[in-house]
Symmetry: C2
Subunit: 453 residues, 2 copies
């Protein structure tokens, strides 16, 4: 599951922090070497990644799956090594209480590592997305045309500090025949380096071409900027992080980018809602895991049911530790709610804060969502057929839901399997991005001498 | 059909050439107004485009098709007006013989305009790509999930001087529910302005929201750079042009880009080719329309058949006015061929020039294609099953063909209908880009109270 975190800290780091850095050699061994310049370092890394790409694309499913299963075992076998590196990252955090939420995300336990290994095995068991050609058709001139799934190529993944992203990205890319170039947050660099080394060494030993799992072992911001310009050797960038990372990527990338951007998700409780269902959905959408991009950040309640519905819900939200910030009408009904500032609407809190607004009708709710939503996940709770259909049709988001929690916008929940995140792009992949979304297609033509007339 | 042309001339124009420019007002009337700054002009244009977008997305197929049919009629009714504007553009070219090829592409005739109108009617007759949901599935918790086709939103199309691109882009975008922002080459600005006005006025009169067909009525290069940064209101950029346009787009775009880049396409004649078929295919791929991106630029011939095959083919190519540039082995067999310079391999000539190389075996051909090809269209001529399959599997290109002319990589030829061009991107759409490729998807969920456990 994607979580989001502002990368301000990462991005403000400068080269001055690293005088010499261990460089992954083509043999896969880390050594102290005279430091390469940032452009040299990045060129070396992506050239090796590109050269792995065509070999990886032609590997059989069997070879890839064997490698994945071995990677799962290796993670389990090296739990102590991983935890030791994770301790170093955590120690660097110190006791700063402001960073406690980030530290929680960063912290690994034997159970979390076992969960990673289970995730790797689950990907091994998914069908190979490559090579499928759902149909082939014959043109009037006898030429047969089909469209076959092929890997995208080399994918750069730039992400924040949750170390499981290192594992998820590496295995989804490997399974889909893509080389990954992983650039995690500098807060987690010790943990990520160890995870990448375990995965990469195991892959190499299983016949996966060296470089197929490439790890950017430098925390400098300049490395990211340089990576974003490697349009010759990197085919796609998937950024997962906060606004400052997104800004850096938009400004510097000459490579196509699939955004995994913020989630400002709403639930609209209609006048014809089943109010018990609405309460269950709202509580789930807000508190089941508030730090995720598909958690509810804004609640819209139709004025007809506000008096019946809101005070009880607000009590339960307060009990769950949620700070509720309301519009003036909400304050009239629930005096213990804090007044919402204008910029609380449209804000991605990623925490136990919720903005609430009472609206006159569906149109006002739709306008609010169009204005403040981030086109990620939007839900209506209603038993009115016409309004349910209007909401599904008119709301523009990666997922639009009737009578379900926004938290269900997820690859596993939709039945698509493991995902690399929830794309907020309007091209290629929108919503949960699984194995199929990590592929592109090529046309193949089987002719018998056809020419253009 | 996409043709390519270096936009050097366009891009080197500066604002100094335009002191006052007619500005399309929200009412759709062109007037002389005090000139807006470039950022103001672009903001006004894209804000209007964005506001048209959600209305356009919800129009019925019937309304869109009626508008398209009316647009076809309007083009036919205004032939004289279009030709008059086209004359002005042509007059600006003067008699410069170097620009004759561009002038030919720019020149309209009553027949070419009739062809445009036929194209518009053909698009009206294609199925609406929006709203389809090929399947909906039910999850174990009873939640139903489906994926429905929706428009991308606002698409900026930046292209060279062929005026039919104005019409093709406008009608394909309209049919697929997308607002288009058209920025054609300055060489064709009078013609393009008239075409856009006819289409836009007709669309407005048919109930299409104003701004749905937006035309950038300024030749300044700065306008392109500004347009490329409107990531809030423009969802996708499709550039169609030469290397200098592509460079500008890569450097300045903060919006996703689907490249329609150069085509360096090869035909490989295998030792087991039907040589008569190979000759027909090679002649077609080179001379049927040399200025297109799917024309052959490089010919690879297996050494076993070179002596039998090449001299006769070279004669026919010479008869067709093709300048053949060969590797040293080719020169031995065909003394009347010019020696190829190293950079002739991998060059997109877009004219009657062909680079020829004799290779030892399939591996050498595959290496040559991987090194010099632009991943656009690649063909093998062979009767050997194993080598045909290897070529299809191993060559990375938008279309890979056995025993067919590269010129067949085309939306109509593949049976996909009208296309906006041939995408060389590795995401979203690769190869001919028709109506379906101008859409994205959103997930819809029909629940009965499901939450995340």
């Amino acid at each position: 599951m994607p979580e989001q975190q502002d990368q301000q800290n990462d991005l403000e780091r400068t080269t001055s922090q690293t005088s010499t850095v261990s460089v992954e050699t083509p043999q896969g061994e880390a050594q102290q070497e005279p430091e390469l310049s940032v452009p040299e370092y990045v060129r070396t890394l992506v050239t090796r990644a590109r050269s792995a790409s065509s070999k990886l694309a032609s590997l059989s499913s069997h070879v890839k799956n064997q490698a994945l299963l071995a990677m799962a075992e290796a993670l389990e076998a090296k739990v102590e090594d991983i935890l030791a590196e994770n301790e170093k990252d955590l120690a660097a955090y110190g006791e700063n209480p402001e960073k406690q939420a980030s530290a929680d995300r960063l912290k690994l336990t034997p159970e979390r590592i076992a969960e990673m290994a289970r995730g790797v095995r689950a990907v091994a068991n998914l069908p190979d997305p490559l090579g499928s050609m759902p149909k082939m058709w014959t043109r009037p001139n006898g030429m047969q045309v089909g469209r076959v799934r092929v890997p995208i190529g080399v994918i750069g993944i730039i992400y924040e500090s949750r170390p499981n992203v290192t594992v998820d990205s590496a295995v989804l890319c490997l399974k889909s025949g893509n080389v990954c170039v992983l650039r995690g947050g500098s807060d987690a660099i010790q943990t990520n380096r160890m995870l990448a080394k375990i995965l990469s060494d195991t892959a190499d030993a299983q016949g996966i071409p060296p470089g197929a799992i490439s790890f950017v072992d430098r925390p400098d911001r300049e490395v990211v900027e340089e990576l974003l310009k490697q349009d010759r050797d990197v085919d796609l960038i998937i950024p997962r992080g906060g606004p400052s990372l997104m800004k850096t990527v938009a400004e510097h990338a000459t490579i196509p980018v699939l955004k995994h951007d913020e989630g400002v998700c709403h639930v609209y409780v209609d006048q014809d809602a089943d109010l018990a269902m609405a309460e269950t959905i709202c509580l789930n959408a807000k508190v089941q895991r508030p730090s995720t991009c598909n958690a509810m950040e804004g609640l819209l309640v139709n004025q007809v049911v506000a008096r019946t519905f809101l005070p009880a819900l607000v009590n339960k939200l307060h009990e769950a530790g949620v700070e509720v910030r309301g519009c003036p009408k909400t304050l009239q009904l629930c005096p213990d709610v804090k007044p919402a500032a204008e910029d609380d609407f449209g804000k991605e809190f990623l925490s136990r804060i919720l903005a609430v607004r009472i609206v006159k009708h569906l149109d006002e709710a739709l306008d609010h969502i169009a204005k403040y939503g981030s086109r990620h996940t939007e839900a209506i709770v209603t038993n009115d057929y016409a309004r349910a259909m209007r909401f599904l049709r008119e709301v523009d988001a990666s997922a639009v839901m009737v009578n379900a929690s926004t938290r269900l916008n997820d690859g596993y929940q939709f039945g698509l399997g493991a995902e690399i995140g929830i794309s907020t792009s309007r091209i290629h992949a929108r919503g949960p991005m699984g194995l199929e979304e990590l592929t592109c297609s090529k046309f193949i033509v089987m002719g018998s001498g056809q020419i253009r007339e």
